[in-house]
Symmetry: C2
Subunit: 318 residues, 2 copies
């Protein structure tokens, strides 16, 4: 199989590329290095079945040319910054919605008909039903990021109906692990390095979130593409549980041997559009045989270990 991975130099993308290569597949990584890192694909670059194309998804001709010969597209490139969406609304439109349209059009031009897509649990907005299942009631969007992923899902499904595509739409909880470069563990660790005595916390620390270890996430994606055979396969990917931000802070500070004073910004939400509770029903992917290997706590600790060993990433990210 020849897989075309957008955002292949990013966090999840580079881990997916590694796994695809290890499984004997050919991989073309398409990345503009806006948030991806060359360091993440250093190993893959030496592999004979790996091709890197540095390009932007808004560059339609480059994208179309690079995709030639692919059997499947994993479209993971995105503006994944949920929190600052309202500071630059055009970014979600361009890098997520329009970029996804371009991927679909490039697929059509190349006769590629299978797509895996990184959507998000944020698409459920502030749902009232937990755990939230894939066919939960029609949600109201609360973030520009979620809205842009909703737009992507909709177009992908319409291409399945209109052009005979087949899709695997993955609604992720927050993913962590090796090569993790943004999110609360990243932020807390960076802040604690700068000042180990005080930790500012967004919201009241009671936000309940679910996390998933990146290798578990990649396991699930590969399994789904192999086993889920509908035209449009929508799958929640996440742990069968959740933790409070305060739990996570406890594990992080214990691991670092710190006892900082916690300064809460207050409020139920960390930022505008933050969902105070994310907990997805993962029955569908579990029914395909998937089981996560790491607990949320172990995933957080593993992430912290990786950040400690790769401090360059802290400095290269604003």
């Amino acid at each position: 199989m020849h897989a075309f991975v957008t955002g292949g130099a990013g966090f999840i993308g580079s881990n997916l590329c590694d796994r695809l290569l290890a499984a004997g597949h050919r991989v073309t990584c398409y990345d503009n290095f806006s948030t991806g890192f060359r360091q993440f694909i250093d190993g893959s670059l030496a592999h004979p079945s790996f091709t890197l194309v540095e390009g932007d998804l808004l560059d339609m001709s480059r994208l179309t040319e690079a995709m030639a010969g692919a059997d499947i597209v994993f479209h993971l490139a995105a503006n994944a910054d949920v929190r600052f969406g309202t500071e630059h609304p055009r970014r979600d439109l361009e890098q997520n919605t329009i970029a996804t349209f371009n991927v679909l059009e490039a697929m059509r031009a190349n006769g590629v008909k299978r797509i895996g897509f990184s959507s998000t649990g944020s698409i459920y907005g502030e749902h009232k039903v937990f755990p939230t299942s894939e066919d939960a009631s029609f949600p109201i969007q609360t973030s520009l990021y979620g809205a842009s992923k909703l737009a992507g899902e909709g177009m992908i499904a319409a291409y399945c109906e209109g052009f005979g595509f087949q899709a695997w739409i993955f609604r992720f909880v927050s993913v962590l692990g090796e090569r993790y470069t943004h999110g609360h563990v990243f932020d807390f660790y960076k802040k604690l390095l700068a000042d180990p005595t005080t930790l500012p916390v967004l919201g009241n620390g009671r936000q309940r979130k679910s996390y998933m270890y990146v290798q578990d996430c990649v396991d699930a994606m590969l399994l789904a593409v192999d086993k889920a055979a509908d035209k449009v396969n929508v799958l929640n990917l996440g742990q069968d549980g959740y933790v409070e931000v305060n739990d996570s802070i406890g594990w992080i500070t214990a691991h670092l041997g710190l006892e900082p004073r916690l300064v809460y910004a207050g409020g139920e939400r960390g930022w505008i559009g933050d969902s105070p509770f994310i907990f997805l029903d993962t029955t569908r992917i579990r029914d395909l045989g998937w089981r996560p290997k790491l607990t949320i706590r172990d995933g957080i600790v593993r992430t912290l270990q990786w950040l400690r060993e790769n401090q360059w990433v802290l400095e290269s990210r604003q």
Copy 2:
């Protein structure tokens, strides 16, 4: 109130403009006349409270300037062609998704925070539950048009959360009545004028659809904006019933005094992405006090009468 109506020279838009003017409001109509008609706003142009701005929603600076001073936006401009979506996928992206983003950004630039939006019952795809309610289970899109309206809804809701907007999202069934310029009554009438002996029918004629008379539709929109007070108000607008395409054909041919031979293309769907059954739960808008004045049958006949009196519209539409 000063209302800014995109697509104000179109079918629903021009009827809405007339009603807003009659109610004493000021109206700015923004239209690029790609599918709107000057004839539809001839009356309004003479009204002192009416301003026409000829412009495209992709022209951000013109749009932003034209919107200055508005209190509310009714965003009705769209590529409303569901059937031929797969022939030009970029059209739904640009004229619906990106155009809606531009409207939201123009609102933000002008401090306008209230928006009424013409979404669609097609957003439910091929739902399994009838009548389909606003909080039906998360649907799978089956048309590029539905997907683009889903994208619009998502962005609008995210702007409500992120920027304090308030929205009324209207999921219409097919609307008909005076100034109707596309859809099955239009197509059937045009075909029967060309050949009164034979009528080609898309699909098997058993598709079940719901229709609403344009004045009932405008009634509902104005009522909702007045009475529905949530941050994001999603409202199905439609008749409390449905008819078969064959019923409609019977009323049309009887009204015209014709007995054509019906030639069915066959199949459950009229075209790729066609929903064989559309029937929306309208409890929400009815609970606000709305009642339709015309039955589906009367709406179809009224439409046919208008088309007979305005045959110029048949020739000016491909």
